[in-house]
């Protein structure tokens, strides 16, 4: 049953402070809407429970990308298109640029936002493994002020997150510390565009000075658990070790025990588990080979 627009309220206060004041006045009553690429889909399908919406599209406070000496702060209202076309993101945070490139098609990239991808909280959200790999922090804003929290742990369970009813995500902060790392991003889906991932991976890693042992590594996966996950056990397993056949065998089994894939319309648990293992191994092989050519 299609929604009747007469049943919904939508206002556009035009400034961030006015939006958070509204959220504080009636916590949980107002649903922020930015580009609408998720909210309007639910609305049209008659599945939107909120009746009051507040537009946060194009709020100047939310669309800036601030490049600081040690970190980059990406406004939560930045679209995938603006992420794709940003020089520093392309050069230093290629995992995020890749995720932006393979989310939806061009029209959805022109409207969908990074903050929206976080609060929509899909286990298959393409940008979230990148945020895990870069150890992103979120700046949350409310009338009570701002707080800064690690993205890791922000999503606690399927569609559940540590965001108070009066809070809004203001920005995503990425430390500029991965320039010397190998960046690996891969999405496996039915189609590049307009197809939700069956499995997606974002990972960074670096070999030590001897170019043999893994010095640092962060691996994140999407679509294999109720929330995007960091493979901390796998990371612990490979850190300080040379990447050889025996290690890769252990890695496959560690990946299998770290994930909880399901059967759904897009794929099967069995396929997802096999692909997740293959992708992590492919990343580690690339990391090993990067040492040979260095």
């Amino acid at each position: 049953m299609r929604a009747d627009p007469a049943d919904f309220e939508l206002i556009a206060p035009g400034e961030l402070q006015a939006v958070v004041a509204l959220l504080a006045d009636e916590p949980g009553k107002w649903l922020p809407i930015a580009g609408g690429t998720d909210v309007m889909v639910q609305y049209s399908a008659g599945k939107l429970s909120a009746r009051k919406l507040v537009s946060i599209a194009n709020l100047t406070e939310l669309v800036a990308i601030d490049v600081l000496p040690d970190e980059i702060r990406i406004g939560a209202g930045c679209t995938y298109s603006s992420l794709r076309s940003h020089n520093v993101i392309a050069a230093e945070f290629s995992l995020l640029a890749s995720a932006a490139r393979w989310t939806g098609g061009i029209a959805n990239q022109n409207r969908g936002t990074l903050g929206g991808n976080i609060v929509n909280a899909s286990p298959a959200a393409d940008s979230l493994p990148a945020l895990l790999a870069y150890e992103a922090e979120l700046i949350l804003i409310s009338v009570r002020g701002e707080r800064r929290v690690p993205y890791l742990g922000f999503h606690t369970d399927y569609k559940k997150m540590q965001l108070a009813p009066d809070e809004l995500i203001r920005a995503v902060c990425l430390r500029r510390e991965c320039s010397s790392y190998l960046h690996y991003a891969r999405k496996v889906g039915a189609r590049n565009a307009q197809a939700i991932s069956k499995v997606c991976v974002a990972a960074v890693g670096r070999l030590g000075v001897n170019q043999l042992l893994v010095e640092d590594i962060r691996i994140a996966l999407g679509s294999v658990a109720p929330v995007p996950i960091r493979l901390t056990e796998v990371e612990r397993l490979v850190k300080g070790k040379p990447i050889d056949a025996e290690l890769l065998r252990l890695v496959r089994s560690a990946v299998a025990s770290a994930i909880q894939p399901i059967d759904d319309i897009r794929s099967t648990a069995r396929y997802r588990a096999a692909v997740a293992g293959n992708l992590v191994v492919e990343f580690l092989e690339q990391l090993r080979n990067s040492g040979k050519t260095a």
Binding site: A6, G36, T37, M40, L53, S55, G104, G105, A107, R111
Partner: protein, 165 residues
């Protein structure tokens, strides 16, 4: 700030459509697609999926390709909109029309307005697109006649025509 003293009722919003200033009375959550088709009689934008997957309802909003089925009318306030009807009269898009005709880019026609607008958006940014650029630029537009190669060839031909004209 928009003139949205609506309180759940209708409000007046203004925008430019194909170069002409328009004011419409809408519910703020009405889809831009419905406003264009029902109030303004601009039926070139089609409803395919109604969920941003197919691109049949593509329009340009402030020069950006968007799916009009996903835009609440209020968010289009003060925007500069171009629909396929506006493209039809634009001399810059003559090359696209010629190329789509020549290469068989239009088949049943349902996806064609969206394909043309996505092509406009691509060619405005990229004067010499590769086949990969074209595939990506049109990746959000689905054709159920599945004549994608003719469509890609049409866009490549249009880029050539634009260069030589």
């Amino acid at each position: 700030m928009t003139d949205s003293s609506s309180n759940g009722g209708r409000c007046d919003i203004s925008f430019v459509v194909n170069g002409a200033q328009k004011t419409v009375r809408v519910f703020p959550m009405e889809r831009l697609l419905d406003v264009l088709r029902q109030q303004l009689g601009l039926t070139g934008a089609k409803e395919g999926c109604g969920e941003g997957e197919c691109g049949s309802c593509s329009v340009l909003m402030d020069g950006m390709l968007v799916n009009s089925c996903l835009i609440p009318a209020l968010q289009a306030a003060n925007a500069d909109l171009t629909t396929i009807e506006g493209v039809a009269d634009d001399p810059r898009s003559r090359a696209l029309q010629t190329a789509f005709l020549k290469c068989g880019g239009a088949q049943c026609g349902i996806c064609t307005p969206g394909m043309i607008l996505a092509s406009c958006h691509l060619l405005n940014k990229n004067h010499e697109p590769t086949l990969d650029d074209i595939r990506e630029g049109l990746s959000g537009n689905l054709c159920r006649c599945t004549g994608y190669m003719q469509i890609f060839n049409s866009v490549a031909e249009a880029a050539l025509l634009r260069k030589t004209s």
